[in-house]
């Protein structure tokens, strides 16, 4: 009896020894709960037109050129829209990893815009899991184009404001999805009978087809009273990354290139050929102090 007890004890003992031998690291790895931030849900800080859940890193400057041609449906006389152009040039700055500010100017109504984008929390996995990232963007727009045939509107009359919440999740290394509800207040809408307060529900998705290319989709559905010719902005595109650049090529029905313009002033039916070829070029620069790597 004694022998059996001893033998079984011996076996147990041997077992624990061999278990330890299989990996020396196991014992210390188990004591380290690792929480990992999920990064790179989208290639750029914009899905196409809309803010994405991605932020700039501290000290990064993103020089963005957005360009939209005319509608393809304009036909051969306008070279399928290539004769027309709408343009926005902007600079975004990463103040901290969770705070990005940016400004830009669009040709459409000669509008200036600025925004502050803050990350409330970031998707994580591991010991402490947060299923999605939450980001908020607050922006201001003011058009500077002269208004013909009426008294010149004041600064306040030209202004509009928006606040947007962006909730996004990287489901896999290939697929990311975000929802972006937005509230826009325009002091004097372009069409005076349009609603001054507009709520829109937005959605964006990214599907990676290779390491450096992805297909993107960006849509907003505004709710409220609009002139009949206004439609919902829909864009479908391809992200191509080459080193410090991200090229975003796409078809979109939106002319405007800031939140107020593309959500409240998009015309044309995407599915009836009223789509325009467009591209965004994002060039990343390092402006802040370099992170020190001490070896």
């Amino acid at each position: 009896m004694k022998t059996i007890i001893l033998l079984s004890f011996l076996c147990l003992n041997l077992k624990t020894v061999s278990a330890q031998d299989s990996s020396l690291l196991k014992a210390i790895e188990d004591t380290l709960p690792v929480t990992e931030k999920v990064t790179g849900a989208f290639k750029s800080t914009r899905v196409i037109n809309a803010h994405s859940v991605e932020m700039l890193a501290r000290g990064a400057m993103d020089f963005r050129i957005l360009h939209r041609f005319g509608f393809v449906s304009e036909g051969v006389k306008q070279l399928f829209g290539l004769d027309a152009a709408s343009f926005r040039m902007g600079f975004d700055f990463g103040i901290t990893d969770n705070l990005t500010i940016g400004f830009g100017r669009s040709t459409f109504r000669k509008e200036l815009d600025a925004f502050v984008k803050t990350r409330i929390f970031q998707q994580t996995k591991g010991a402490k899991t947060i299923p999605f990232s939450l980001v908020t963007a607050v922006g201001y727009t003011i058009y500077t184009q002269e208004v013909v045939g009426s008294k010149n509107p004041s600064v306040v009359d030209r202004s509009a404001y928006y606040i947007q919440l962006i909730a996004g999740r990287k489901f896999s290394s290939k697929f990311s999805l975000q929802l972006s509800p937005i509230f826009i207040h325009t002091n004097i809408p372009f069409v005076i009978t349009d609603d001054r307060n507009i709520f829109a529900m937005g959605g964006g998705a990214r599907f990676k087809v290779s390491k450096r290319t992805a297909i993107t989709l960006d849509y907003h559905h505004p709710f409220g009273h609009f002139a009949d010719n206004y439609t919902s902005p829909l864009s479908l595109g391809v992200d191509i990354e080459t080193g410090g650049h991200v090229f975003q090529l796409h078809f979109s029905n939106a002319t405007g290139l800031n939140e107020r313009a593309y959500i409240t002033q998009t015309t044309g039916n995407f599915f009836k050929g009223d789509a325009r070829l467009g591209f965004n070029i994002s060039r990343m620069f390092k402006v802040g102090r370099k992170k020190k790597i001490v070896v």
Binding site: Q20, A57, K211, G243
Partner: protein, 187 residues
């Protein structure tokens, strides 16, 4: 019967003795790497390297999270993880090997020992045999270790596209620095 019991006790003692052998560990090892080309230098550092070294058998292991490498430029870090190391798919780099002549190293007398470590390095889903020189320093019973060696990207199936081929070296120099190994106490 008695002799069998005796044998068991001896065996039991023998296996228990393996518990008593010295295991050293660290959770704060440093691994850095450098890529040098005429156009661009790239450097990154990971300060959370795990390592355990069983001095009697010489068995040694290293483990690190690829995402733990810190770069000067955030964009480099993103590209490193997303495009080159695919850290979502292959989150860790591992090394399992043996320190040559390990059991003859006295951990109590001040000394600087040049030795070799042979083993298998796993990263980006590929395992390869490597042999690297190492320097082990013992001072005031504190054990530290350093090594440097080079790996070739193509050996680990890390592809560099032609556009950036001149900016990223095919040969990457790696430095390991373990400032202090601590005694691992097993229960």
């Amino acid at each position: 019967m008695k002799s069998l019991t005796g044998l068991c006790i001896i065996l039991l003692l023998a296996t228990s003795a393996t518990f008593a052998q010295s295991k050293l560990y660290t959770k704060a090892g440093n691994i850095s790497f450098k890529s040098k080309t005429a156009i661009q230098d790239i450097e990154a550092l990971n300060t959370k390297v795990l390592s355990v070294w069983e001095t009697n058998s010489g068995n040694i292991e290293f483990s690190l999270l690829i995402k733990g490498f810190q770069f000067e430029k955030a964009l480099m870090q993103e590209h490193f993880n997303e495009n080159y190391m695919e850290s979502d798919k292959y989150p860790k780099a591992l090394f399992k090997g043996v320190v040559e002549n390990s059991k003859n190293i006295s951990l109590t007398t001040d000394n600087i020992i040049n030795t070799k470590v042979n083993g298998m390095l796993t990263m980006h889903g590929i395992t390869r045999e490597i042999s690297i020189p190492a320097v082990i320093k013992i001072k005031n019973k504190e054990v530290s270790a350093t090594t440097s060696f080079a790996v070739f990207l193509e050996d680990y199936n890390i592809k560099i596209p032609a556009v950036v081929a001149e900016k990223i070296s095919k040969k990457i120099n790696i430095q390991i620095n373990i400032p202090a190994y601590k005694q691992l106490t097993t229960k």
